[in-house]
């Protein structure tokens, strides 16, 4: 469903962040991106929906070229790609429900909706999404009063509103404690299994990668250095990705 061909990214300061990424993601996969900070994971994820403009190469999502899509076309592609961020990126002083509903904005045409309340069907859809992440009682709460794990689940509900075929998760658990991290990953895993949503998720924990991933792709200096089954990533390979001194941290 997603084909990436020799993708390069140069930043304005000359950094060569992606050095020819080739990757084929099949529908239903749960791809874990491993790699040190600065290895290009975030850049790669953001190039896929063009929050960052790639410098060269091809990205094909459902037979549609992302890298050349014009604004309206690009928006339509983005409808189908949910995104989850390390810092949750919710609007902190709005309610949980409104935040979830913003996931549906891509489906609004024109600005008429500005003066109308949200459609009943959309609100119901948002309630259902909140239920799926176990937050149905939180709809009217302000986001800033929620814990980190709860905020990340709101972000997952927001992504669900897009009815996505693909979810990009940029270190979704890096600012959470280990127990909460596992809960958040469990919800992502559930969407992957039950709804058939393809997930590409960057992580730092090998244990979580083994538990939830169906495939591991490791990046080092903007290049793919490993691509395969999570179970075959042993300590030796882990060290080659993270450097000689790396020690695996267990998360259960």
């Amino acid at each position: 469903m997603l084909k990436i061909k020799s993708l390069h990214k140069y930043y304005a300061d000359g950094t060569h962040a992606l050095k020819g990424i080739d990757l084929d993601v099949k529908a239903g996969e749960f791809v874990i991106l491993l790699g040190l900070s600065g290895s290009g994971k975030s850049t790669l994820l953001r190039c896929l929906n063009r929050l960052i403009e790639p410098s060269s190469g091809e990205i094909v999502f459902n037979d549609q070229h992302v890298e050349t899509a014009r604004s309206k076309e690009l928006r339509r592609i983005r409808h189908r790609i949910g995104m989850i961020f390390q810092q949750f990126n919710l609007i902190r002083n709005l309610s949980v429900l409104t935040n979830v509903l913003t996931g549906r904005l891509g489906y609004q045409d024109g600005l008429g909706a500005l003066f109308l309340p949200w459609k009943r069907a959309e609100v119901e859809r948002a309630q259902t999404a909140l239920k799926r992440v176990g937050l149905s009682d939180y709809a009217r709460r302000q986001v800033r009063n929620l814990s980190g794990g709860q905020q990340q689940r709101v972000a997952i509900a927001r992504a669900l509103m897009q009815e996505p075929q693909l979810i990009l998760a940029d270190e979704p658990v890096a600012s959470l404690d280990p127990a909460t991290a596992d809960t958040v990953m469990r919800y992502l895993g559930e969407l992957n299994r039950n709804d058939g949503i393809t997930v590409i998720c960057s992580l730092h924990f090998l244990s979580l990668a083994r538990k939830y991933g169906s495939r591991v792709v490791a990046l080092k200096d903007g290049q793919i250095v490993y691509d395969g089954d999570p179970k075959t990533v042993d300590n030796e390979r882990f060290r080659s990705i993270y450097g000689e001194d790396a020690e695996e941290v267990e998360i259960r």
Binding site: I77, N89, I91, N93, G103, Q108, R158
Partner: protein, 330 residues
């Protein structure tokens, strides 16, 4: 290349500083010894010590710009030159400002009318003055309200993070910023003089003056707030495939609304204060009353006005401070 530039800057600084020192010295000599004829142009010979000490490598320029600090500060001619210039600035300032402690301590009696006026305010004028005070508060309020839509619109054009980095975007950004800065650096009192001629003396002129100044000031405050928003939500809403307007409406506006309100109330507070000054030069309200009573030397009436202004400013400060703290506590 870079070293050469720094060397030039250091030399420039030394020459300017020594000419300034020469200027200070010739001014003091002229003031105290009153030699016949002008001697100020001797200051221009300041370049000689400047070049000499710069060449030795121990001058203000070499010490600060080129960072050469081989000598500890009390052994270095360079640092003593800096100390000398601060001391001379203080002495010249003392002479220029005509500071006279003797007058301060011996002539307090001259002010006894005003002081006794303040402590025996003429309360029979309270009602008409309250009307003038209301005029001041309301004109400050209207000036703030009228300023909001303009400042709101301009602030987005003056925000680096929202303006596209194209030729047009950069020019609009720079233009709006420059105009706002220029308008802000012209004091409200100057605008009041202009408008008191334009629309006549009275509260309307004062309102216009404060409004112009508020537009410029709020544009700056608002745009700084916009530049400080968390880019995360913007990224997130973009990623959902929403168009530009929705990104602005859901990711930008919720983040800036309460700080905007806080700044606006703060501005109203400032405007009430400025309104009294603006009233002095024809802007109406209690300032105008103060100016009239002062010229009639009616010190007891001035006393009431001073009490009223102090009370209002104190109250506004208290209330706006509380409201702002509440709004900014996100």
């Amino acid at each position: 290349m870079k070293g050469q530039k720094k060397r030039t800057q250091a030399m420039g600084l030394d020459i300017l500083l020594w000419i300034y020192l020469g200027g200070c010295i010739t001014y003091l000599v002229q003031k105290w010894f009153q030699p016949s004829g002008d001697i100020w142009y001797y200051a221009l010979f300041g370049w000689i010590p400047a070049v000499v000490f710069n060449a030795i490598g121990d001058s203000p320029g070499t010490r600060t710009i080129m960072g050469r600090k081989e000598l500890s500060w009390f052994r270095s001619i360079g640092s003593w030159t800096i100390i000398l210039s601060v001391v001379l600035t203080f002495v010249v300032g003392w002479v220029l400002v005509e500071i006279d402690p003797y007058k301060f301590f011996t002539r307090a009696g001259n002010a006894q009318h005003i002081v006794s006026g303040i402590f025996q305010p003429n309360l029979s004028l309270l009602m008409p003055l309250l009307k003038a005070l209301a005029e001041t508060i309301y004109l400050a309020f209207l000036a703030t309200v009228f300023a909001i839509p303009f400042a709101f619109g301009f602030s987005f054009l003056a925000s680096r993070n929202l303006m596209p980095r194209t030729w047009l975007g950069n020019s609009v950004y720079l233009l709006v910023r420059t105009i706002a800065t220029v308008f802000r650096s012209v004091e409200a009192i100057v605008w009041a003089i202009i408008f008191s001629v334009w629309v006549g003396i009275g509260p309307f002129a004062g309102m216009l003056a404060l409004m112009i100044h508020s537009v410029a000031a709020l544009t700056k405050l608002y745009s700084e707030q916009i530049e400080n928003i968390d880019p995360g939500p913007v990224e997130a809403i973009k990623a959902t495939g929403s168009g530009g307007f929705w990104v602005w409406w859901y990711a930008v506006i919720p983040q800036i609304l309460s700080p905007f309100l806080a700044f606006t109330i703060y501005r109203w507070d400032i405007n009430v204060r400025m309104a009294t000054i603006v009233g002095f030069v024809g802007g109406g309200g209690i300032g105008l009353a103060l100016q009239q009573q002062q010229q009639m030397l009616a010190w007891r009436n001035v006393g009431v006005i001073i009490w009223l202004i102090a009370l209002t400013v104190w109250l506004m400060d208290l209330v706006s401070g509380k409201v702002r703290a509440k709004l900014l506590d996100i």
